[in-house]
Homo-oligomer: 191 residues x 2
DNA sequence: TACACTAGAGAACGTTCGTTCTCAGCGCAA
DNA sequence: TTGCGCTGAGAACGAACGTTCTCTAGTGTA
């Protein structure tokens, strides 16, 4: 079918909305079917099981994150500004109505202990982000430990914003990042 | 009964072990009953429902956390050292075999969106921790923003350690905390 | 018109889970 | 001994869920 791909992404986006907003186990395949507007038969012929669907949803989320970070850093010139753009991206995300924390952290907390696939997906997503931060830090001439610290700030901001219900953590994390970067890099951007 | 209180804490500790290691929805009341070694009838007469039990388990977890932080900071003299003791406490925790991240973050990710009670418990736990950090920072003469930054580091270390499966995040967070404290406090501990 | 084929709607099935109910056994007062 | 209340073990119940099956309506084709 021509719309095979369209059907798949339609289902993935629908499932993502539901899983992210209500949790994975709390959302039945029937709800996914309703949200996507297709039949159960088609749903199961496109994705063999809920596990398979969930895996694709997590990969979709990962791409969304990567795209968001890339877009946010596009306007920044220096590696330092690209690093700080991460926290600006978080700030915008935290302010969205449907923000409910990091989907990978949530999924890991819900099913990481009983589903190796989910644990692996979360681990890969986080290590991919750490590699991204590391490459920017290296480009800026900073030590690897700075990358780990900046990544921890980003993770902490996400859980803090989710649980507290306020976006303040983004600004706090950004300020901390500025301090850490300035302390670690010999010459900051001060003209 | 004399052992009423003993029964309750026995059940709470058993449920805590199971909920923490496998997740909440993945653990049935039957498993709790087996782990606690009591009858279903007694389980339900002591706690009216799984929700009630979960609530008590979360409060128990909160006390455990408070006690752990208090014990870790007991040896420290200055507010600065008490702040850093937080990350030493995390370091020891991350190295335990059964470490699976912060129970409140996990519970929030799993059920926070559909259970206001759990969302509230997580929010209260985190804000209690932030008050603790804030009081130490104030005692040390630091600005409130430093407290927020240090708390974000602690949260980020917990999720990073859980998902990555290594305890390294504790040391990274501690190093970042040292940098942030030294930058925010006029006079550091340098004799 | 007759016929194969497809697809959608939802019934059905088997399992799991939270919670309640039943029943047999036991201690105990009279 | 007899009756009574309590307790534990687990059966039972109703709901929800993942997954499969059935039935029906429609469509294109000869």
């Amino acid at each position: 079918m021509i719309d095979d791909e369209a059907t798949r992404s339609n289902v993935i986006e629908a499932a993502d909305r539901l899983f992210y907003s209500r949790g994975i186990q709390a959302v039945g395949m029937d709800a996914v079917r309703n949200e996507a507007g297709i039949s159960l038969k088609k749903l199961y012929s496109a994705f063999g099981s809920k596990d398979v669907l969930l895996n694709e949803v997590l990969h979709y989320r990962g791409r969304q994150w990567d795209d968001g970070i890339a877009a946010a850093s596009a306007a920044a010139r220096t590696p330092r500004d690209k690093l700080l753009a991460i926290y600006d991206f978080l700030n915008g995300w935290f302010r969205q109505d449907d923000f409910r924390g990091c989907a990978f952290i949530n999924s890991f907390g819900e099913l990481g202990s009983i589903s190796p696939e989910i644990a692996k997906a979360a681990r890969e997503q986080k290590s991919s982000f750490q590699r991204y931060v590391s490459s920017l830090v290296a480009e800026a001439g900073g030590p690897p430990s700075l990358a780990a610290q900046l990544a921890i700030l980003a993770e902490g901001a996400q859980t803090t914003a989710a649980i507290s219900g306020t976006p303040d953590a983004a600004a706090h994390a950004r300020a901390a990042a500025v301090t850490l970067i300035d302390a670690a890099l010999p010459v900051s951007g001060a003209a």
